[in-house]
Subunit: 607 residues, 2 copies
């Protein structure tokens, strides 16, 4: 079967690439999720690196719609892989360290059973008779391969786009079979917009007179026009508007000189024509129909409650990444997944990587310094837990500057951290808002706290926290903490961030809803030296941020004294349970008249 | 000719609608911009309201790609028009007041000469031989109609999308023939993304085997599949993602029961199938090819300099509106036009209307309360200049609260306005940053200033300023004043807004670049009462904003004293030419020790 199927769709493929493809044949009926069965299944796959003696280093990579098993070059003579930037020796998914498995997916046309394979029942290719399959079926066939390879538990499943759908499905379908899940540029279901593009693409194929109800393999030509139209359209959705501007705006009316029967009046037109024609040569229209339908039917839940229920079985650690200019799988969809994971107390890190590369960003090198390094750090920490967890290292906060540029301490030992840690009972669960690179959380972890996580806005700070093996989710505090349940954490911290927040009341309300206790620290404008700066010097107090910020460039946008905050708590019916006052210039605790003598207040609150 | 052409594409059209269509036949060769000519041209059009005796009330409406002359119902028995929300008695384009002309466009298929009309040279429909036409050709044919109707000068040309392109072209091609231009959801050229969608749509038609090189009128069927695919695809681009979610997410897997040969598995699929089939019945594929190509070739300039040069001939007053969720004609494209107009000292108002309706927003009632009312006010002020300009009214600022929620004066007479006005020599040109509803600008206009304009962020404040007949452009001051030339204005004002701006230095740099002089007013934190609040009361000073704002909800994010600002000017090499200090609690000017005695500073600056 696998020998035959490359003929129709794959004549261009290099022999030196093919030599690395292995196949696993499963000669028993394969039951399909939506009913029916396939009489047998073959899975084509490639592997990289070596399985460790303890079999704890296998990483499964799930490719997207038009990918295949050739995720990376095997050696210098090999053809390029579709994810060479990510997979290889020393790469983020390091084949010197990990055993990488990449199967071609069920329903595809690159070696694994799909519509262009012979149906044993008829002796002809399945064609349009290939049954409807689901993402669950794809994952089921991969799990058979993983069993076949003798891997009981994958270190991680990694995938983007449709590969991300498969990663999500893996985590909930076979929760005990993976330690980590890395889902990139994906979603719990397509947007109606993305679904609509797929519908138009399928209609272009199905209404192509050369489609012949899917039995075109013995015809002189298949639905190449329809498939090319579908691909052109899809291609637009993979690029961002900015990327298209970069690529085509300068020579808009200067098409490339290519051989095609499609319109080539504009540069973008010649590009699309080329992409469409080329896709028609290497991909099978029936696979396109089959796999886009699997994507379109994928649905982990229509509501947050349904989604949380769907994700409940998962026990793995999570890393999700979205890409800011991806409008096919927009970031709100990843956030929706992250929200459901967070609400279910799943260990998850998430970042929306700032990029102009659109949906394709996860395949491109442009932003690899962030998402690639996050994946590298995530896998490394999955494989070997951070040393402070194992008691081997007492790491010190390198910098909290990303999150708190206005830290009044950051060139000194953080006695405010010590004070905050002392206010938290051992073992308490903690959410740190504006956690930076996670210094305070790491301090808590060293102390034995296990259920801890952070929220942070800056992507490089998030990378720092992921490197530490912490769970950190990108969020803008001004948008609230909707994802979290009431009283989900024992403590919610806001350390030296209050003064940078516009919507103070909302953030405090949310902290007191999500935490049994909240701990807030902020600089006190009532500090004697600050009073004198204004009263005697006639100058707006500048604070002690060590950054030499001025009134016109400080990140601080809220100015308050301890007395102001106490009044606020009184008005808002917030109880102040404990008060710690510090004079950080003198590095000492303050007991007397804190509104005059302390430059930093730390308060434990509840409601 | 016009009798024949409805047969092929328009059999559904009601006779009662057709009875209102008039035609103007021009039996002479019509030269085309890209070479060649049409032997003659017929323009089908409808009119509403009455041309005034002075012929000063004619409004020309340019329809978009698939529109026609039937912009609105003529009477209760008439079929609905495509813009009934905008055009009619008492509507924003008020047919009780204005004489509205709406022609079907050249190349269309609803009465005006197009590919489905008989080519006199062959006796057969033009079909695929219809020549390539441009937006300029469309406008040329409309100008012939306007001449034919005896209108020397249109009050305004109004159009959205392709109609917006035509409006832009009108303004630069026949500048003395219109007083105002209203361009909605449009651009100087398509984005490469939008262009790419058109390319795919055209390829779907051109590669449909039933296209027959465009001579399908005598065939049993035309390229209905290709046209339907093009329409489905275009339809997606007219809707926003949010609008599609609203429409289709709740019943994603529950398609409507319709008769179609297209896929109907999903609700959005059945919707697209319906739209595609219906469009194939009412629209001509050759017109679709002809008109999308005219759109795709439209290009007022690739660079800001080219665009400014292209717009230079225009002498009309401008109103541009974009729609926040329109991703086909995204707001940056309207801003790009506005920037070029602004750089050329053209009188222009602009607003990006907040909406979830996508490109279609300009055809929908959802946001009419803003864009409709702006158009109403703009046309009314074009027709009859604001009364304070004619000396009939001395209007008083109703509220500047939108722009300056922290106005310390807004319940009193604005003596700060008086002070600012006194600092400006008569006749000087003025740009007011954060102008609100334009109270200060109106005061200047009453004083005789003519070259004045405002920037404002809030769309309802912009509406207020447009109602006053002022030129106001939506802008976020934190993003700078890139559009403006060096020294474009005599004075640039920032009245009580400095303290709400994050990037103070940039805004001041920009003011001093764009203005020969800048005038800045801001509250002085060094005011004696404020000092006492902090020094003696231990409270962050609350200011005098009359709004009872607290430290946690004030719009103010910058805190400075007069001394701080003077130091800043010294460091930044900004000259302070004049200083006015006010104590607004006492409603008096301050002479002595202003850093202690004034609560408001007004400074004239230059560099």
């Amino acid at each position: 079967m696998t020998d035959q199927l490359f003929e129709s769709s794959d004549s261009q493929r290099h022999a030196r690439e093919l030599k690395h493809i292995k196949t696993a044949r499963f000669n028993k009926p394969f039951d399909l999720e939506r009913g029916g069965q396939l009489p047998n299944v073959t899975v084509a796959y490639e592997t990289y690196g070596r399985l460790s003696p303890t079999r704890d280093n296998a990483v499964l990579i799930c490719h997207a719609l038009s990918g295949d098993s050739h995720v990376a070059q095997h050696d210098a003579d090999d053809d390029p892989g579709w994810w060479d930037i990510m997979v290889g020796p020393g790469k983020p998914i390091d084949t010197d360290r990990f055993f990488v498995i990449c199967p071609n997916i069920l329903g595809g046309c690159r070696g694994t059973t799909g519509p262009n394979c012979v149906n044993p029942a008829t002796g002809r290719p399945y064609g349009g008779d290939f049954p409807a399959i689901t993402v669950g079926d794809l994952v089921h066939s991969q799990k058979m391969l993983v069993d076949h390879l003798g891997v009981d538990r994958l270190l991680a499943v990694v995938g983007g786009s449709l590969g991300g759908h498969m990663t999500l499905d893996w985590a909930v379908r076979y929760p005990d079979r993976l330690a980590g899940a890395v889902a990139l540029a994906t979603s719990a279901q397509l947007t109606s917009q993305a679904l609509a593009f797929d519908v138009v693409g399928r209609n272009a194929i199905l209404r192509d007179p050369a489609y012949h109800n899917g039995q075109y393999y013995d015809q002189p030509d298949g639905p190449r026009v329809g498939l090319a139209l579908a691909r052109m359209l899809a291609h637009i959705t993979y690029l961002s508007r900015e990327a298209m501007m970069r690529k085509f705006d300068t020579d808009r009316f200067a098409p490339r000189d290519i051989q095609t029967d499609f319109e080539t009046r504009f540069s973008v037109g010649s590009y699309l024509a080329y992409q469409g024609d080329r896709f028609g040569q290497r991909f099978d229209a029936n696979s396109y129909l089959t796999l886009t339908m699997a994507i379109d039917l994928f649905n982990l839940g229509d509501t947050p409650a349904q989604l949380a229920a769907a994700l409940r079985p998962a026990t793995c650690r999570w890393l999700l990444v979205s890409y800011s200019s991806d409008w096919l799988f927009p970031k709100f969809q990843s956030q929706y997944l992250v929200d459901a994971l967070v609400a279910g107390n799943k260990p998850v890190s998430y970042c929306d990587v700032e990029t102009t590369c659109g949906h394709d960003a996860f395949l491109l090198p442009n932003d690899l310094d962030r998402y690639g390094e996050m994946i590298r750090a995530f896998l490394a920490n999955l494989h070997e837990p951070p040393r402070d967890v194992t008691g081997e290292e007492n790491d010190e906060e390198p910098s909290r500057a990303f999150a708190n540029p206005k830290s009044i301490f950051h060139r000194h030992h953080r006695i405010d951290y010590d004070s905050i840690v002392e206010l938290i009972p051992p073992g308490a669960s903690v959410l740190d808002l504006g956690c930076g690179t996670g210094g305070l959380l790491a301090q808590l972890r060293r102390r034995g706290h296990r259920h801890i996580m952070g929220l942070e806005r800056d992507e490089r700070a998030i990378l720092g926290a992921v490197r530490r093996g912490l769970d950190v989710v990108q969020a803008d505090l001004n948008e609230g903490l909707d994802a979290f349940n009431d009283k989900q954490f024992d403590f919610v911290l806001l350390s030296q961030t209050l003064q940078t927040i516009i919507d103070v009341r909302r953030v405090l309300d949310e902290m007191l809803r999500v935490g049994r206790r909240a701990i807030v620290s902020f600089p006190n404008l009532g500090y004697e030296a600050y009073r004198r700066e204004l009263a005697e010097g006639g100058r707006a107090p500048r604070g002690d941020d060590g950054e030499d910020h001025q009134w016109y460039n400080t990140p601080n946008v809220r100015f308050l004294t301890i007395a102001d905050f106490e009044t606020f708590c009184n008005e808002q019916k917030i109880d102040i349970l404990k008060r710690v006052w510090l004079d950080t210039r003198r590095q000492e605790h303050v007991e007397n008249d804190p509104n005059r003598n302390a430059n930093l207040a730390i308060l434990v609150l509840s409601r």
